[in-house]
C-alpha cells in the first residue's frame, strides 16, 4: 500500500470522516478532527503500519496539520 492510501485510511479510521480525501489541504486541527491524543494514535499507527519513527519531539503541529502535509512528512521519513 502506498503512503497516501495508508495515511488516509488511518485518518479516516481515527476521525470517522471518510470525506478526508476530498479535503487534503484543510487543517485537521481547525476542523476539530484531530486532537493531541488522536495525534498520538496517528503516530502509533504510522509506526506500526509503515515502520517509521516519527521524531515526536521535533513535531511542529503546523507541519502536520493537513492530510497532504502528513503524507509529505511520512514520505520523507520513509525515504530517509
Amino acid at each position: 500500500m502506498d503512503t497516501k492510501e495508508t495515511v488516509l485510511n488511518i485518518l479516516a479510521d481515527l476521525t470517522g470522516d471518510t470525506t478526508i480525501q476530498n479535503n487534503l489541504d484543510e487543517s485537521l486541527f481547525d476542523s476539530g478532527l484531530l486532537d493531541s491524543m488522536a495525534t498520538v494514535q496517528l503516530l502509533l499507527e504510522l509506526q506500526q503500519q509503515l515502520d517509521i519513527d516519527v521524531p515526536v519531539s521535533e513535531l511542529e503541529r503546523t507541519e502536520w496539520d493537513t492530510p497532504n502535509k502528513i503524507i509529505t512528512q511520512v514520505d520523507h521519513l520513509r525515504n530517509a
Binding site: L14, M37, V56
Partner: protein, 503 residues
C-alpha cells in the same frame, strides 16, 4: 518518618510562612512558599469581607497556574469549598455546574467570556485582592473536619454532571497515605500536568506542598504542542511524575524520554485508567532507577485507594497488572450480582476518604453511597477480583462508564447530549477497545430527522458547545435506524460487538 497530619492547611502554613524556597513553577516563573502563604491569606481575608453565604462553595475558573493554587487555598482558608472548573470547559458546562452548585462566587483566573448569574471576581480584581491588607484572616472560619474542601464534577448518566464532595477529613486520609506509603523524598520536585478540575491533580498538588516540595506546571497549550512539550519537560528537573498512563505513553513516543535525560526522576505514579503491561515494561527499561506505582480510585473515594509498586517481577508475572492493595484505613470488598461477598465482583470501598455524596443530588447519593460498619461506603460500579493476600485486579465495569485517556465518561451522558441537539432523533455511543482493554475511540451512531452535509463534522461542532472536548466522540456515524433490544431500548451491546470484532 511517619506522617500523621491532623490539619492540612495548618501544616502547609507552618512550612510556608517566611519560607523563600520555590513551591510552584509556571509560565510566569518561580513562586515561593512565602508568596503562597501571604497571597492566599490576604485573598482569603478579602473574601471574608464580602459576606458570602456561610459555607457556600466558590467556583474557580481555573488554569495550570500558581494563581489557581493561591485561589484554591484562599477559598478554603476563608471557609468555602472550591469547585475547580477548567478554562477549557465549554460555556454550557460551566453554566450547568453553576446551576447545580449555586456557588457564592466565581473567581476567574482567566476572563469569563460569557454571562453568569453569580457574582464574579475578574482576573484583575483577583490579583488586586491577593494584596489586600485592611483586615486579617479569621482562620477559625477555615474549612476543617468534615466540611467540604473541594467539589469536583464528573460525568453523569443523565447528561448532567455530578459534584463529588470531598471533605478536609477525606483529603487528610488520602494525603497521609501518600506521604507514608510511597517513599516520596522531602522537597520533592513534581510534575503538575493534570488540570485542577480533574482529581488526579490532587495526587501531585497536596502531597507535594505537604512535603515542602515544588510543583512544575505545564498547561494544555504546552502538552498539545509536542515540540514544545519535550523541550520544556527535559528542563524541569523532575523527581516525581504524576499522570495518566495515556500521557506517559505520549511521552514514550520520544526516544529521548529516558533516564539519561531525566537523571533525578525516581517516582512514577499513575492513576485514572488502566496501566498496561507494555507501558510499564517500556518505562522500566527507559528508567531503570525509577519506581513505578500503579494506583486506583474513584473520585468519590478521593483520588486513589489502592496502590502497588510495579516491579520487573510483577510485569513478568501478570499480563494484566494489579491495581494493588487497599490503603491501611480503607476496606475494599467485592460482591456478586446478588450482593453477596465474593472474591470477584463489584468493588465496594469503605473508609475515611469516602465522600459524603454528590452535591445537591440526594437521589444519586442514595443510589451509590451507604454506611458499612459505621464507615462511609461507596458502590463503585467497578468489577474486580481480590486475591487471598488482598491484591486487587481490575476487570471492567458493571455499567457503561468508560475511561478515555484518564477521563471518566458515562456513555449515556454523550447519548443524552447528542439527542438534545436539534437534528438528532436517536443516539447511542460505544467504545472501541484495543487489545490491551483500553478505550481508544468513542463512536456514536445517530438517527437524524433532517439531512446534514458532512454530519460528522457538523454534529461534533454542535456537541462541543455543551460537553468537554474529551467527551466528543471521534466518529459520529449516521444510520437510518439503530438495533433494538427485545424491550425496545437501543441495543448498545450489539453495536459494541460490531465495533470490537477484532478484540
Amino acid at each position: 518518618m511517619h506522617y500523621k497530619l491532623t490539619n492540612l492547611l495548618e501544616h502547609i502554613d507552618a512550612l510556608a510562612l517566611n519560607n523563600p524556597s520555590s513551591c510552584y513553577q509556571d509560565e510566569a516563573g518561580q513562586h515561593s512558599y512565602n508568596e503562597l502563604y501571604q497571597k492566599s491569606n490576604q485573598l482569603a481575608a478579602y473574601l471574608q469581607t464580602l459576606n458570602l453565604q456561610t459555607k457556600a462553595p466558590i467556583m474557580i475558573y481555573s488554569d495550570q497556574s500558581f494563581m489557581t493554587v493561591v485561589t484554591m487555598l484562599a477559598a478554603v482558608k476563608a471557609g468555602h469549598a472550591y469547585i475547580p472548573v477548567d478554562v477549557h470547559s465549554p460555556n454550557e458546562r460551566v453554566l450547568q455546574i453553576e446551576e447545580i452548585a449555586q456557588p457564592a462566587m466565581i473567581l476567574a483566573i482567566q476572563e469569563l467570556a460569557f454571562t453568569v448569574q453569580t457574582k464574579v471576581l475578574s482576573p484583575t480584581e483577583l490579583q488586586q485582592a491577593t494584596f489586600y491588607q485592611a483586615t486579617a484572616l479569621d482562620s477559625t472560619q477555615s474549612v476543617q473536619g468534615d466540611q467540604n474542601f473541594y467539589i469536583i464534577f464528573t460525568s453523569g448518566t443523565t447528561g448532567v454532571p455530578k459534584g463529588v464532595q470531598i471533605s478536609h477529613n477525606n483529603l487528610l486520609s488520602y494525603v497521609n497515605w501518600m506521604l507514608n506509603d510511597f517513599d516520596l523524598p522531602e522537597h520533592v520536585s513534581c510534575l503538575s500536568q493534570a488540570p485542577y478540575s480533574f482529581d488526579l491533580s490532587v495526587m501531585d498538588l497536596y502531597p507535594t506542598l505537604a512535603l515542602g516540595g515544588q510543583l512544575k506546571a505545564i498547561g494544555q497549550d504546552i502538552t498539545e504542542n509536542f515540540a514544545q512539550l519535550f523541550k520544556v519537560l527535559s528542563t524541569l528537573d523532575l523527581q516525581e511524575w504524576v499522570s495518566t498512563p495515556s500521557f506517559v505513553e505520549l511521552c514514550l513516543l520520544d526516544k529521548n524520554f529516558q533516564q539519561a535525560n531525566y537523571p533525578n526522576l525516581c517516582h512514577f505514579l499513575f492513576c485514572g485508567e488502566e496501566l498496561t503491561n507494555s507501558t510499564a515494561k517500556t518505562l522500566l527499561q527507559r528508567f531503570p532507577e525509577a519506581r513505578i506505582f500503579n494506583t486506583y480510585g474513584p473520585t468519590e473515594a478521593c483520588v486513589a485507594v489502592t496502590a502497588i509498586e510495579i516491579t520487573p517481577t510483577i510485569v513478568a508475572n501478570y499480563s494484566r497488572l494489579p491495581i494493588g492493595f487497599a490503603k491501611g484505613d480503607t476496606n475494599i470488598t467485592a460482591v456478586d450480582e446478588h450482593g453477596t461477598p465474593s472474591c470477584a465482583g463489584e468493588l465496594l470501598i469503605s473508609g475515611p476518604s469516602v465522600s459524603k455524596g454528590y452535591l445537591n443530588n440526594s437521589a444519586k447519593t442514595q443510589q451509590v453511597f451507604f454506611k458499612q460498619d459505621e464507615q462511609q461506603a461507596y458502590r463503585t460500579g467497578d468489577l474486580g477480583k481480590i486475591s487471598a493476600d488482598g491484591n486487587i485486579f481490575y476487570r471492567g465495569r458493571t455499567d457503561f462508564q468508560v475511561k478515555l485517556h484518564g477521563y471518566r465518561i458515562e456513555l449515556e451522558d454523550i447519548d443524552q447530549n447528542l439527542v438534545s441537539l436539534a437534528p438528532i432523533d436517536q443516539a447511542i455511543t460505544v467504545p472501541r477497545y484495543d487489545t490491551n482493554h483500553k478505550v481508544t475511540q468513542l463512536i456514536s451512531y445517530v438517527v437524524l430527522n433532517q439531512p446534514l452535509t458532512d454530519p460528522n463534522t457538523a454534529l461534533k461542532k454542535l456537541l462541543a458547545a455543551n460537553v468537554m472536548d474529551y467527551m466528543i466522540p471521534q466518529r459520529i456515524e449516521v444510520r437510518t435506524s439503530l438495533p433494538k433490544t427485545a424491550n425496545g431500548k437501543i441495543d448498545r451491546k450489539t453495536l459494541m460487538a460490531e465495533v470490537n470484532r477484532h478484540a
